[in-house]
Symmetry: none
Subunit: 202 residues, 4 copies
DNA sequence: TATGAATGAGCATTCATTCAT
DNA sequence: CATGAATGAATGCTCATTCAT
């Protein structure tokens, strides 16, 4: 039993880390709190102390994980690249990180898989909606800038670009996270980015 | 209670139809057999009579639904189009059908969501592997034909094309099936296809 | 489906034969009607046609099997032996038959195992009570005759002899029917009879 | 709800006590865990906490009950009696205890009734086999000693003696535990022992 | 803080039983 | 006579949750 504040913080962190892994591997419904407890080296009781219940634990995951995620994207967008390079960079970095950072992938996978839960917990819903809306606006601006700068084809629908980004990221995280993916899917992150960029380049 | 063979067939069909809907809406683990039973207008017992258990019911879904799905693709590939048009057609038709045919979407959604289950039931695993492998080979041939005919860029990796197809289809089905999708995702099926095709066209 | 009376009789007989085997192997509660059906080569429905329900099937077993069993004993008792020989013969024949006739053993095993059921079905209860009472009276007479004839010790309690018979038969059937019996139990039917007879001989 | 270790031990003990009673009364298959729970004053959940599942509960019964049982026999065999007296004592004490100690009877009844289960749970199987083998060896030694000392007839097969012991104990426990025993069976423990001893005495 | 013990609602599954054919 | 289809009550088991310690 951890007695100091510091130690309690460690338990909390371990629980969250265990939770992403287990949730993303099994999905929300099939995940047992005991699994998470075991993976974190504590009993289920600790989860209740730190998070209240299963749903809250799941919600906490988002609040803690999504923020750095969006910060990460913002950093890319703030760097001194042209619009097209920004878009390319975002996708490339996503794909790259999916491949290397199992936790990052798990998190994203979770994000897409558990939309149902997200809709059930208003807290998550609002939380995610806000950031995505903001992200959407920034991205559309980037695309429009790209068009104005002549980097992107004039006849490209900015919404198609954001949709394509969302679709590719969702699909990639999905296929990559599935233990044994479809035969069609061979990774090919860089090549796919290239195709996409070629598809919108002026 | 249905007593004739014919009527039993109806019950079976209704169970399967109910099952796609419920499974794809709730996911495998969160689906209760009673939900499916109620939706089909029979008791849980009927499920056991027809399918044996939950897993087998799920497996039966695949065996019955995936076949027409692949037939559908084959038909497109057999038509008298050029390679690029075939690829475009496949994606277009998929996206279109996802939008209009709720059951088709649900089915595909299921397919992607429940890879875990798929891996647990060897029957499904083998079943799917075979068809996907075949599909993959045909597609690669199409891409290579496209390259030779000068319709597709020479420097395009055929595997990148199949991966892109898989990714787009998975992502699209996914985002569309999520009750309240990401802000980034605005549908835009046709536009996305156009970007993709432009990305690989010679 | 059997259509003639004769064929129906065959089904009935097969069901009863299957029933003794399965009941005696698994016990009443653990026996599924489908087991019996399969062993008899028909579906459960046939059981309901012939016997009404599980309990009735079980009851029918007794009525059909116990009669010949008591007849068999009576025959021994009616033969022209001395009292001691009669007692010896009964035990010997029982043990012998237990060893050789698997169905006979199963039947007896059942008889002892399922006293609970017997008590639940008044029909069986009365039925068995009557025969056993009669058997008891005859046996006590035999023992008394033996005492009077000086074949059996005067200080032997006739009830102890009948109890011993019952105990040995029950115990023997029991230990023999248990798949892997106690290490103590090595069969030894004849030897046990000899010990018993020596124990009561004048 | 019991919260301390001590109290948990009480719950466990009560569950075991309830379990012997219910199992031996209804048999393994017909016993519902809720019966045991109710009899012990807890919910079924507590059974799963303490024992894992039904089979394990049953197995636990053996491991906890059989040991004292064999100790009890050993004590008799270690006392300062002659071989014949030891054998007589064992039977006498068994019969006596069966009559007075309902739990002891129930336990023994269980032991004989559920050989099937015993064979299904390897743990129990090995466990019992070992003790019975040891018991058998000791008993055979006692019989041989009796023969050498001239207390027991030279022509008596030691295995017949152990078999008789097993048969009598099994049969007696059986007939006594059956709610309404056979008409033949009138108890008569002491008298039966006397007959047996007379049967083997030199 | 965290654990151990226990609860209870919910779920998959089994199985005797029904009954139209 | 017998089957196939379906029902429904019962039962073992899982798991989120509670709470005294």
């Amino acid at each position: 039993m951890r007695r100091t504040k510091e130690e309690a913080g460690i338990t909390r962190k371990q629980l969250l880390e265990a939770a992403v892994r287990v949730f993303s591997e099994k999905g929300y419904a099939a995940t047992r709190l005991s699994d998470i407890g075991e993976e974190a080296g504590v009993t289920r009781g600790a989860i209740y102390w730190h998070f209240g219940n299963k749903k809250e634990l799941f919600a906490a995951l988002f609040k803690e994980r999504v923020d750095p995620f969006f910060k990460f994207i913002k950093e890319i967008l703030n760097e001194d690249f042209g619009p097209l390079d920004k878009i390319q960079k975002i996708l490339t970095v996503f794909f790259e990180r999916f491949r290397c950072d199992r936790d990052f992938l798990a998190n994203q996978h979770l994000d897409f898989i558990e939309m149902k839960i997200r809709n059930e917990v208003p807290e998550i819903r609002t939380f995610m909606k806000e950031r995505e809306d903001k992200f959407y606006e920034i991205l559309v601006d980037v695309v429009n800038a790209g068009i104005e700068l002549g980097e992107i084809r004039k006849d490209v629908d900015p919404d198609a670009v954001t949709s394509m980004l969302a679709t590719l990221i969702a699909g990639y995280a999905f296929l990559l996270a599935g233990n044994e993916a479809s035969s069609l899917f061979k990774g090919k992150g860089k090549e796919m980015v290239e195709i996409f960029i070629t598809g919108i380049r002026a």
